[in-house]
Structure formats: structure tokens, C-alpha cells
């Protein structure tokens, strides 16, 4: 019994490390390419670490082509969209979880339609509407669409979280003459930290990496976000892979930071979105 247990463990490790190896190769190749001089971009066999290695790609990628501006645009878009998504979807979720009104479930199902229709499918009419509302070429055009594409899923998630807050707390809050707004801001929100963290993660990652809509709605180069800028840079400088991946790595820094800080909520988020075994 014990010996077979050890055998299974060793086999598990071998398989897991093999998988890890396959996962790691492209990532390693991206990082090492970012440090390669241009002359070594297509040099084979690949070296584990480029020799000679260089920081030039980072310097060039960051100083030319307004990279700083695109990074700042992405930051503005992702931070604003995240804050608005948290505000709007927690208000929606509060209404669905804690208030009584007519057509509540019908409205909720209508909202859930947003989870079934893929965002890319809507870019044609959104493009038309964006022109009408003078949101074409504006970062607000990105922000408002990102918030909208996120609220269905995030409201669904938060409704479950808010429904778990005990009735007693609500009664206590209302007893002192409190309004629903006070109950929402003083009790429900402070008690829902992990749920809100999941919303922050989901909406930040979405807004930071969104490509299809930004590509359509932003025509002016001064308003580009990072995904657009990186894709355009690659198609304009076909073989300058070192600079492409240097820029990509810098673009990944905020995502990795968010991931490390909120890592334990990732799994929690999955189990609170209503998936049960």
C-alpha cells in the first residue's frame, strides 16, 4: 500500500513537471528574446539565456513610439473601468439581493443575457452608437463599453455574495432609522471584501487586455491603449521581436502584480460564481 503510494507520487511529479516544461517554454522564449540583440533574433539553436544580452530593446521600446502615453492610456482606462464596474455592479447586485420590487427576477434574467452574447458580436452597432454619442476616438468610449460588458457577470457573482449577509444585520441597521443606502455602504460593502476583490480582478484584467473594441473605436494614435499599440508595432516592424516582447513584458507587469496580490481570490472567485461539482 505504502510503496504504491510513493510510486504514484513519483509518476505524478514526472507528469506535472513535463506539463510545467511545456507551459514554461513559450514564456521563457518571450523573456529571453526581449534581451536579445536584433542580430540574434532568429539565431538557432536557441540559447537558454542570450549571450551577449542587452537592455536596448526595453530602452528603445519604451522611449520611441509614445509607449509611455499608451501605458498611461491603458492605466486610465483600466482603473476607471474597474472602479465603475465595482460601483455599478455592486449597486445592481444590492437591489437584486436585498430590495423588493416588481419584475425583479425578469429584470435579472434580462441582465444575464449579457453573459450569453459575446462582446465582439456587438462591435458593429456599438461603433455606430459611439459615433452618435461622440465617443468615437475617446477613452470614455472604451471605459463605458468595458463596464457594460462586465456588469452582467459581476452582478451575478455579487448577488450571491450579498445574499449571504445575515438578515439580523439588516434589521439592526434599519431599526436605527437607516436607509437602504446606509445599509449598503456601511454594512454590505465592508463585509464583502473578497467578493469585491474578485470583481476588481475580473474587470481590471478584461479592460487591460481588451483588443477588439479598442481597435475599432480608437482611430487617433494619441488615444491608443497598449494591446493596440503592441499589435500595431509588430505589424509595422515585422522582425523586431526583441522590442515587441520587451514592450509586452512591461505591459504584463500590472497584471502580474494584481495576480500576485489577489492570487488566493482567483480560486475563491471561481467557487463563488456558482459552479458546483
Amino acid at each position: 500500500m505504502k510503496r504504491s503510494r510513493i510510486k504514484i507520487n513519483i509518476l505524478s511529479y514526472i507528469l506535472l513537471l513535463l506539463g510545467l516544461f511545456i507551459v514554461a517554454i513559450p514564456l521563457w522564449y518571450m523573456v529571453s528574446t526581449a534581451f536579445k540583440p536584433q542580430t540574434m533574433i532568429f539565431e538557432l539553436p536557441p540559447q537558454i539565456w542570450p549571450n551577449p544580452s542587452t537592455f536596448n530593446n526595453f530602452i528603445k521600446a519604451l522611449t520611441t513610439d509614445n509607449f509611455g502615453l499608451y501605458f498611461w492610456n491603458s492605466t486610465k482606462v483600466a482603473v476607471t473601468a474597474t472602479l465603475l464596474t465595482v460601483a455599478v455592479s455592486s449597486m445592481l447586485a444590492f437591489a437584486f439581493a436585498r430590495l423588493n420590487f416588481k419584475f425583479k427576477e425578469q429584470l435579472f434574467y434580462l441582465l444575464l443575457l449579457g453573459m450569453m452574447v459575446p462582446p465582439v458580436m456587438l462591435i458593429i452597432p456599438q461603433f455606430v452608437i459611439s459615433h452618435w454619442l461622440k465617443l468615437y476616438n475617446s477613452l470614455w468610449g472604451l471605459i463605458l463599453v468595458y463596464v457594460t460588458m462586465n456588469i452582467s457577470m459581476q452582478t451575478f457573482l455579487l448577488r450571491g455574495v450579498f445574499e449571504d449577509i445575515p438578515k439580523d444585520l439588516e434589521e439592526a441597521a434599519m431599526m436605527d432609522g437607516g436607509s437602504p443606502w446606509m445599509f449598503f455602504t456601511r454594512i454590505v460593502l465592508p463585509l464583502s471584501g473578497p467578493g469585491l476583490a474578485v470583481v476588481v480582478i475580473n474587470s481590471f484584467l478584461y479592460s487591460w487586455e481588451e483588443y477588439a473594441w479598442a481597435n475599432v473605436n480608437i482611430g487617433d494614435s494619441a488615444n491608443r491603449t497598449l494591446p493596440i499599440a503592441i499589435a500595431l508595432f509588430q505589424s509595422a516592424h515585422l522582425t523586431q521581436w526583441g522590442q515587441v516582447f520587451a514592450a509586452s513584458l512591461v505591459a504584463l507587469i500590472p497584471v502580474v502584480i494584481i495576480f500576485i496580490v489577489f492570487q488566493r481570490y482567483f480560486v475563491q472567485g471561481i467557487s463563488t460564481t456558482g459552479i458546483k461539482g
Partner: protein, 297 residues
């Protein structure tokens, strides 16, 4: 139950719902219906009043177009392969990680790294690795495995160009299925599996008779979400193949993009997106019917 609290709270409800539903109507529901209208017109973007109603013509044009057929086949093949491989690999890795192993937190994070790396970046990365001259994949096939004597021009071939697209999706997506399977596996009580072991069930029997039936909900969820995601593939096709060569490697949505924003034919673009949506709705409905728990369970 006519206490103060159970009364209709219409005014607070309106206040809490207003911002969300305003956005939802303007940027989701409105566009969804508006797009249906566009799909029945020869749409003139610059002068909307000069758009001409053409009935089902845009739909019929698409259904007759060999490029559309090709895009449907590409999307279906891509979806079938990626969904099956991601489910199988994800299930295996999740079961391996669901043991008491040293370093399993590290492994879990490592497997998740491709998931958080953005689509644009991984698509460019795979384009680079599949370069005809000097690409890492060709080097591996030619000089390490000796499986081919000359470089394969992946992106110049209408069938081979789909290989990097499929592989990038699998590489990026397995980590996510692992996490979902892990969440599902953790809901199975360990006593149940131990009891079966005491009764003499081997690993295989435990898998078939206990683990898989207990994970039915997770399997259904993954199948629905992954198929939906596959049918809506956009960025990897757009950035790796661009539909080349000769428009043979489009997905349905890159074809929609081409019709709308390169040919400025909004009517046909909208028709393509509605054909896809219609198919997605039918499929979701069938899936839910087929996979719903048998009565009495």
C-alpha cells in the same frame, strides 16, 4: 407579512438599478437590437438615410459564400479540437494536483500564468515561434526530431496556419480548466473515495463510478463555456493568420470584422454576427437539454 421591510421598495430600487440599466440599454440591449436592423439593410454608414432595405439578402449572400463556409469549418474544427484537448488535459492535471504534493501551490500558479498573459501578447509570441525561417518550432522539428528535412512555412498554408492558432488556445487555456476542475474535485467528499477504495474499487472504477458522475455540473459548465469561447474566437485568428492566405483561415468573427471594417459593408457584417448568435443560442439550448440532470437525481 405586511411589515415595513417586505413592502415594495420601488424608489430605492430605481436608484440602485438606474446606472447599471442605463449602460445596459445604451451599450448592450440597444446595440443588440440595432444590429438586427442593420443586418436587413444595405447599410450606408456615412448617410444612414440612404441605407436600402434588402430583406434577407445579406444572410443569403453569406450562406452561399465559400469564404463563409470555410470560416465556419475553421471555427468548428478549432472549437472541437481545443475544447476536447483542454478538457482532457485539464482533468488529468487537476487530478494530479488534487493530491497532497509538495509544491502544489507553486505548480497551480505556474499552470495559471498563461491564462493571465494577454491574448495579443501570446498570439504574437506564437507567430514568432512558428516563423518559417528561424522559428523555434521548425528548429525543433528539423534539427532535434529530424521529422522534416526543410522548414515548414506554417503561415503560408491554409491548413497548417491553423496549427499555431489551435496550439496557442490550448496552451493559454488549460490552466483555466485545471482551476475549474480543481474547484469541482474539492466538492467530492474524500470519505466517499476512501470508502470505495476499502470496498476494493480500483482507480479506474473510482474514476468512472464516483468522480465523473459527481463532477457532472462542472463538466456541463466547462463544456458550455469552452464551446461558446471557441465559437467566438477572434484575437488569435486576427493576429496570427489575418485570414491569409486567400481568406482561407478566417474565424467567423474575423470574417465579420473584414466585412464591416475593411469593406465597410455593415449589413453583411451584422448578418454574420447574427448567424453566429443564432447558432450559439440553439447550441446552448440543445446542450442544456441534453446535459440536464436526469429526473429524480
Amino acid at each position: 407579512m405586511h411589515t415595513k421591510k417586505s413592502r415594495n421598495q420601488v424608489i430605492p430600487a430605481i436608484i440602485f438599478l438606474l446606472p447599471g440599466f442605463a449602460l445596459f440599454f445604451v451599450f448592450f440591449l440597444g446595440p443588440l437590437l440595432y444590429s438586427l436592423r442593420i443586418s436587413f439593410y444595405n447599410w450606408n454608414f456615412a448617410h444612414v438615410d440612404r441605407s436600402v432595405f434588402v430583406g434577407f439578402k445579406n444572410y443569403i449572400d453569406q450562406l452561399k459564400d465559400p469564404i463563409f463556409h470555410r470560416a465556419v469549418i475553421n471555427t468548428a474544427v478549432y472549437t472541437a479540437i481545443t475544447v476536447i484537448v483542454k478538457m482532457v488535459l485539464g482533468f488529468i492535471v487537476a487530478n494530479l494536483l488534487n493530491q497532497k504534493l509538495r509544491g502544489r501551490t507553486f505548480l497551480r500558479v505556474a499552470y495559471y500564468l498563461p491564462v493571465i498573459t494577454s491574448w495579443v501578447i501570446v498570439s504574437l509570441l506564437f507567430t514568432y515561434m512558428f516563423s518559417g525561417q528561424g522559428g523555434l518550432v521548425n528548429y525543433f522539428l528539423k534539427n532535434v526530431l529530424h521529422a522534416t528535412s526543410k522548414n515548414i512555412m506554417w503561415l503560408a498554408d491554409p491548413v497548417l496556419a491553423l496549427v499555431p492558432v489551435v496550439l496557442v488556445d490550448i496552451w493559454k487555456g488549460v490552466g483555466w480548466t485545471v482551476i475549474i476542475f480543481l474547484a469541482g474535485l474539492q466538492t467530492i467528499p474524500t470519505e466517499l473515495i476512501e470508502a470505495a477504495a476499502v470496498d476494493g474499487a480500483n482507480n479506474w472504477e473510482r474514476l468512472i463510478k464516483i468522480i465523473l458522475p459527481m463532477m457532472r455540473g462542472t463538466l456541463v459548465f466547462l463544456l458550455v463555456v469552452l464551446i461558446l469561447g471557441g465559437l467566438n474566437a477572434y484575437v488569435p485568428f486576427q493576429l496570427i493568420t489575418h485570414g491569409d492566405p486567400m481568406d482561407q483561415t478566417h474565424s467567423i468573427l474575423t470574417l465579420m470584422y473584414r466585412a464591416t471594417f475593411q469593406r465597410m459593408d455593415f449589413g453583411n457584417g451584422a448578418a454574420i454576427s447574427y448567424l453566429l448568435t443564432l447558432f450559439v443560442f440553439i447550441l446552448s439550448f440543445v446542450q442544456l437539454k441534453l446535459l440536464r440532470k436526469p429526473a429524480g437525481e
